[in-house]
Symmetry: none
DNA sequence: AGTTCCATTTTGAGAAATCAAAATATAGGG
DNA sequence: CCCTATATTTTGATTTCTCAAAATGGAACT
């Protein structure tokens, strides 16, 4: 009984929610899952009860849901496919990292193992995708390294963008235009919680100010 | 209202059946369509009635169905995607032409226009796929197929041997013994890419199997 | 405790695609 | 012209996924 695209999407959303919670035992609330998948709350409840019956998730009514071991493995496979595809579209097909998400979202459910492993080989077994997100191995292991964001890193220190925690194309294009895409260096000059803003000094010595919500999506490592 | 994968498959099957019939006005019988798509006859009837209502096909109860102008355009797009993907998998990804069909069958329903045109450009706008089948243009035009060997001619169709592209005496004697010398009539019953073989039904109603390399040397014309 | 608010679950319904099996139409042979 | 074989359509049911809206649970604050 191989999982449908729909099931794969629920598992992937759950996996990513759990990674964000940084706690394997934590339960993801149904409302959050529903909006991540893009369905009405009642739909998520129905689906999750079915997934619990087939052993892919552990469901605790009114509290939330978490992936089982089997569910985690499946979700990691989906995420592996998604991220390898994104890397392939950028590196091999010359597409922009701002526009590959939608294509990958579709392709991840249909590429064969044969094809995905061929992509992996052509790319030289990459460890991260164009957004800096780590790619799970064929066994489902994912390097879970810790990131600071522009909201949490030390001030006046050289840092390098490593990852962007948002797939919205408009946001990604904004980052690209402002020299904030993965790999680029910058410093945080100041934060103003009253103004809800963060001031940056980018690679080209340009000073820009972005909101805290945007800043939290730009993950970095100290140089 | 963009068509589902299912609808695309019905349209594609219809398109290919009509090409095989070599007659744009001909009606494809429901039974043939059903078995091409791989569903029960009643299922095809239900689907075709829905497609007729949305203007993609012209349906004549008990007689059969043909594509409308809109349906033809859509089917050609699907076929274009399928064949470009096959060519891409062989030329760019180094897969064998014997194993790309299944992948293409899935991918053809999810690749974006952006991605398919990128593939087309990378391939240098090819006119045929790895099987020698013509690739429709973005406008939906497709060059008529020049069937020239037992490897490329339509199945279950009377053809006549016109020429043998090999001068090896042993091979020619083999052809003579099997009633495959120029002037003789036959039909191709099946091709098996896994077995690298082609099954023929010769003039004397005898069934024989030859390799694809041999088949490609036997040039024919459709009777 | 009572009340209010929010999240969650339940309910009832519908769209898309399918099948098996019964009913019916068409065509061909006697 | 009838009768039969075959193809096609109809019928009734099923699966998967979805929603809106009603019902209910849990928590939090007087």
């Amino acid at each position: 009984m191989l999982p449908s695209s729909t099931v794969e999407n629920y598992l992937k959303a759950l996996y990513q929610a759990q990674v964000a919670l940084e706690n394997d035992k934590a339960l993801v609330p149904m409302g959050q899952l529903a909006s991540a998948v893009g369905v009405a709350p009642g739909t998520a409840t129905t689906m999750i009860k079915a997934l619990a019956k087939s052993g892919l998730v552990e469901y605790e009514p009114y509290l939330g849901v978490r992936l089982s071991t089997a569910g985690t493995a499946l979700a990691a496979m989906v995420l592996r496919r998604h991220r390898l595809i994104e890397q392939f579209l950028v590196e091999i097909m010359g597409m922009s990292w701002t526009e590959v998400h939608e294509d990958a979202e579709k392709l991840e459910h249909v590429v064969s193992d044969r094809l995905i492993e061929r992509m992996d080989a052509m790319l030289g077994h990459p460890s991260v995708d164009p957004h800096g997100d780590p790619i799970p191995t064929p066994d489902g292991d994912m390097a879970p390294h810790r990131y600071h964001s522009l909201l949490t890193c030390p001030l006046h220190t050289q840092v390098k963008v490593t990852r962007v925690a948002d797939q919205d194309a408009t946001f990604l294009r904004f980052l690209e235009a402002q020299r904030l895409k993965p790999g680029q260096a910058l410093e945080v000059e100041a934060r103003d919680s009253a103004a809800d803003s963060v001031q940056l000094l980018t690679e080209g010595q340009r000073r820009i100010t972005i909101g805290t919500k945007a800043a939290s999506k730009v993950l970095i490592e100290v140089a």
